[in-house]
Symmetry: C2
Subunit: 251 residues, 2 copies
């Protein structure tokens, strides 16, 4: 990808990139999509450059689609990262060497880049991680076992997780992360996994039902020995309303 971008560099905004923190929930783990390339020992967030004829949001949507095959997924811009030495020249040199990019062409890449961070919550089972070329590995990795990341990607990841945790207080979460039918314990586990701490069962039940976004289904979870828990689904319309207006807040 980088080689093609550099060959058409006049079609891209200079010194600007996007990086995506793509979260998925599976097996009671919150995971993030990471990439390992051959030019570095470290892993990386999926990212891209911004074409002059696309908005920065469209740039991020394209990264997500290219990397997961998913379309129409909610992406949220959370912060822009612009320290002076966030992409040192030595790093860029390694990358252009790896791709065998000619020296004069490489200059476009060997400059300071500012990157715009986006995060997405996707359905783990529907996303199909897509490597580019045969030298890449794309994997879902548990947020509690993040490997060493290139550049400031750990800072970008941390900020995305911090934002997601903060937003649990403002909007409902779960629509893209849980299967269509789920139990309250599954939903609580999602919240606990994002927050990184246990929640009181009764308090959670009271608070989550008071939001009014859940439909109790006339079904119980099967394959459960006894005391099968009720299944729920999100009331999509009500969910959207709360997503737009925010949870009822203090003042």
């Amino acid at each position: 990808m980088l080689k093609e971008v550099i060959a058409n560099k006049e079609n891209y905004q200079p010194g600007l990139s996007t990086d995506c923190v793509i979260f998925g929930f599976h097996d009671n783990q919150l995971k993030v999509l990471l990439i390992k390339t051959k030019y570095s020992e470290d892993w990386a967030l999926p990212g891209g450059f911004v074409r002059v004829d696309e908005s920065i949001d469209e740039g991020a949507v394209n990264v997500l689609q290219r990397r997961t095959g998913l379309k129409g997924i909610f992406l949220r811009q959370f912060a822009t990262f612009g320290k002076v030495n966030r992409n040192p020249i030595a790093f860029s040199q390694k990358v252009v060497n790896f791709f065998g990019i000619p020296k004069e062409e490489a200059l476009w890449y060997q400059r300071r880049f500012v990157t715009i961070g986006y995060y997405a919550l996707v359905d783990f089972l529907q996303a199909v991680p897509q490597p580019e070329g045969n030298s890449e590995v794309v994997e879902w990795i548990d947020i509690n076992s993040i490997p060493s990341l290139i550049l400031d990607h750990k800072e970008i990841f941390d900020k995305a997780l911090e934002t997601l945790r903060m937003e649990l207080n403002l909007v409902p979460v779960g629509y893209n992360l849980l299967p269509e039918k789920f139990t309250i314990p599954q939903l609580q586990k999602l919240y606990e996994t994002i927050l990184g701490r246990k929640l009181d069962r009764r308090n959670f039940l009271r608070k989550i039902t008071s939001i009014g976004i859940l439909n109790k289904l006339d079904e119980k979870k099967s394959n459960v020995a006894h005391k099968a828990p009720n299944l729920y689904s999100f009331d999509k319309e009500r969910y959207e309303t709360v997503l737009n207006n925010g949870l009822h807040q203090g003042w």
Copy 2:
């Protein structure tokens, strides 16, 4: 300023700017600092470009200092704006004509710019609006009477206000906006002004005192005929703690 930047364009990140929404509170009005230049009928947010040797945050801090004389003020990055046509070429042409910038030099400015939005809360009485050159007007304008703004500056302003309102639910506000000693009704008025709606007096008192950031002073407001209200100050240490950890939240 633009002319000097263009003359030293190799010292600046291409296609990147910062815009600052600077809020001040005075006379029970929330105001924003706006600039009127001679090359446009519309007003503008104070902004600047990003030097290659400064971080994006430092770039924004410099704008704030240049425009208000204030140092060490809390600035918060809230969003980056990057629609394809946010700064049409016709607009740039008007600006470079106004400054009499040579055609070949002007090209640097006549390209797509992505801008990073910051907001600041400043002490209205300490800020001294600073025009650059004698063709500029810099003024505090009530947020309820925002004039027509250039480019997407209205969108940037709206997003800043939306962020500020949202953050009232997450962190305490007031430290930079109120005088050192204030009354509860003054603080309530600040919250009401930011939120754009009335709050119940007793609920507000209960909630604001439960945060534990207020020191009740052994003084009453003078020049008040009868029933002089108590004066308060912020417990700076406790205020900082809550600012860092967030107000106690739902989950």
